[in-house]
Amino acid sequence: MSTEKNLYTISVYTENNIGLLNRISAIFQRRHINIESLNISPSEIEGVAKFTIVVKMTEVNVKKIIGQIEKQVEVIKAYFHNEEETIYQVSGLFKIKSELLFEEPQIQNIIKDSHARIVTVNTAFFVLEKSGRKEEIVQLYNQLSVFGIMQYTRSGHISVTKEEMKISALLEAYNN
């Protein structure tokens, strides 16, 4: 049995229900597993929500967790994938003093090279947005932090899988 821990993306399709987040997060808490990132959004199916949870754990345990998640009444289906099997993005927001844009010309190059987008500018600050893989956001953070960042935040993973997820077919089967 492999005891090597890897990053896994767990995708959970659910009924949209108050309390379900609590129910799902409790499954991780019981096993003392830290959730690296979490995103909840509508899915491709109307009325069905999708949890995207990134965790670092062994494959054996992630399988057990999937079973315990799927067992919840309002969970339609849960999947897990490793990094290679998903296409994911995270987004980072950086709030920076506007004066730095002129005092530190290097910043302009960093923005250009990183393909970050300027969301807003005013006399006091400007806001940069960068989407990409986590490492790219971290790299940008490292480059900008030298000059000082007023605020920084990074979103959880949002991801789609290379493999097809047959939720619609599944729902149809449940309905019949």
């Binding site: 659910t14 009924e15 108050i18 309390g19 609590n22 129910r23 409790a26 019981r30 399988k63 057990k64 079973g67 315990q68 799927e70 067992k71 009444v73 309002e74 969970v75 339609i76 729902l171 449940y174 309905n175």
Partner: protein
């Protein structure tokens, strides 16, 4: 045309009545064929109690003396009847007092619906009087829960609650209903829930798995069946017996599975696990095919997992896919309801008898008999043993009683030695190990099955955790037979202190009250036995009593339960002394 038909049908079926949310709750219970509920009133649930007063000819509400007692009584009710147990409580402390029973029902797969009152919806989150986030608190220990803030949602929530509690692998659910929703009037109609699209109560049996399992079983030279409560929950006792007999396979049980096959059945080789029988534990590590049915490989059953049946091919008949490969890696998983899968596999199984393999069980039983059982059941030393009390109960009940136990030494002894002729006869707190479970659970069991003899067996520790339910027994005139095996110790913890903590008996000695006087204070007939020669007569008198009866038996103070698989050891390292 079709639209017209549908419209017509809706008009016909949707007969509604304008009633309050609280009346709707009671009407939903009646629609679910609930006749007895257990609970305790309080502010936020008072509208429901007012309706219970009006409907008392239809639903009998049993006033417990503590909400925990109400849940255990509902559990006892469910375990002996196979029906959903219902417990009801007010918000705040009433609701939190339910939690132990709910957690117990969750881990032991007991169908139970709990209804709690909640503060009015406009007060939610404001730290109102007796407000607690019971939905949040109960989430990890319920199969499902929800909060209702509008009367119109009550029928749907309760219909789902009963369906979820009972279907698939059963479990407890909790519905929290705000006080304003209880007062609100709405157009009531009730429809039972039969399907929830995201919920698959019984998984499909994967094609080929029955055949693969049958092939392994037919080729096995030393097969062993280990069964659990799944047999009882799916009412598969007959199918199970047929399989065991046709294949001639020795079968051993977890404590929740006990009584699914009569104790006297020649293929019943006894109890598994930490204090189970010697033969099935030792031979678990010698069998070539291990067939697990409706059990979940609890650590008290498996001992050290890395050394559990590693030589065997493992077949797992299971309704809950999350249990497959959770603790023990299976070679073939047969998903589905045990009643259906066992019936389906029977024609694929060859008749067999495995006489040499059986002989190994008999030989090991002889060793266990000489070293342990003889001394437990036929002691010659001074001091009564717990085992001889169970033996007397067996003699008087002829194996027909339902035995309800608490948790600890007496529980292990009762499970080991109680004789069961009928299924659903061993009611005990297995997974959670809840001291205090026994007495209230026995009340629920007796009320669900008044025709059955129900014997509650507790230790002096656990008995005092829910001793207040004697009041419920008295008020309900529940003819429960109550046995306390008193050693003036928290015996199981003391045993561990003796064996593993060099006899440092930290806080395990109990200075006990006059138990007979307490029972008599509740007007329950009571007797205390301290000598061997008094035992048989006292047990006979208790069993013949038409009313509740309390019997305290003072047993040896420092008796130990053996065999024992020490914590962290392999099942084959089971100790006989």
């Amino acid at each position: 045309m079709e639209t017209q038909t549908i419209t017509k049908k809706e008009i016909v079926t949707k007969v509604t009545e304008r009633i309050s949310g609280s009346e709707a709750i009671v009407r939903c219970l009646i629609a679910e064929d609930v006749k007895i509920i257990y609970g305790y009133p309080g502010g936020a649930i008072m509208p429901v109690y007012d309706e219970l007063y009006k409907y008392q000819d239809k639903i009998h509400h049993v006033l417990a003396r503590h909400e925990q007692g109400a849940t255990h009584a509902a559990q006892g009710f469910a375990r002996i009847s196979g029906k959903v147990g219902v417990a009801i409580a007010t918000s705040g402390p009433g609701a939190t007092n339910l939690i132990t029973g709910i957690a117990d029902a969750q881990i032991d797969s007991t169908p139970m619906v709990c209804i709690t009152g909640q503060v009015a919806s406009h007060l939610l989150g404001s730290d109102a009087f007796q407000e607690t986030d019971i939905v949040g608190i109960s989430t990890p220990v319920t199969k499902w829960n929800c909060q209702v803030t509008r009367a119109a949602d009550i029928p749907i929530a309760l219909a789902k609650a009963f369906y979820i509690a009972k279907s698939g692998r059963p479990g407890p659910v909790l519905v929290d209903i705000t006080k304003d929703a209880q007062f609100e009037e709405f157009d009531f109609s009730y429809e039972k829930c039969t399907k929830i699209r995201s919920y698959v109560p019984i998984p499909k049996t994967v094609a080929g798995t029955l055949e693969a399992a049958a092939k392994l079983i037919n080729a096995a030279k030393k097969p062993l069946i280990v069964w659990g409560q799944g047999i009882v929950l799916s009412q598969a006792e007959e199918q199970f017996k047929a399989l065991v007999e046709k294949a001639g396979i020795p079968a051993a049980w977890t404590i929740l599975g006990a009584s699914a096959l009569p104790t006297s059945h020649p293929l019943n080789v006894g109890m598994l696990g930490m204090h189970g029988n010697y033969a099935p534990n030792v031979l678990t590590n010698q069998c070539d095919v291990l067939i697990a049915i409706g059990m979940r490989f609890d650590d008290r059953v498996t001992g050290k997992l890395e050394e559990y049946a590693t030589q065997a091919k493992v077949i797992h008949f299971e309704i809950d896919p999350a249990e497959v490969d959770k603790n023990v890696k299976t070679d073939v998983a047969v998903l589905g309801d045990a009643k259906a899968t066992l019936a389906a596999i029977l024609p694929l199984i060859n008749e067999n008898s495995h006489p040499e393999w059986h002989q190994q069980f008999k030989d090991l039983y002889e060793i266990e008999y000489e070293k342990v059982i003889k001394g437990d059941l036929h002691p010659t030393k001074e001091g009564l043993t717990m085992g001889e009390v169970i033996k007397e109960i067996n003699i008087q009940s002829k194996g027909d009683a339902a035995i309800v136990t608490d948790v600890g030494q007496h529980q292990m002894i009762a499970c080991r030695y109680a004789e069961f002729n009928k299924t659903k006869s061993n009611i005990t707190s297995g997974g959670l190990g809840t001291m205090g479970f026994g007495l209230p659970a026995a009340i629920g069991a007796k009320m669900a099955a008044p025709e059955r003899e129900v014997v509650s067996i507790s230790g002096d520790g656990g008995y005092q955790m829910t001793i207040q339910e004697l009041g419920t027994i008295f008020q309900q005139k529940a003819a429960v037979k109550i046995v306390v095996l008193n050693n003036d110790f928290l015996g199981m913890v003391r045993q561990w202190q003796q064996l593993f903590f060099e006899k440092r008996y930290a806080s395990t000695e109990m200075v006990n009250p006059n138990f007979v006087a307490i029972a008599e204070g509740y007007y329950i007939k009571a007797k205390k036995v301290t000598k061997r020669e008094e035992l048989a007569g006292a047990v006979k008198e208790m069993m013949e009593s038409k009313e509740a009866y309390f019997l305290e038996v003072c047993v040896e103070k420092e008796g130990n339960v053996f065999p024992m698989v020490p914590s962290g050891a392999s099942v084959s390292q089971i100790r006989l002394e």
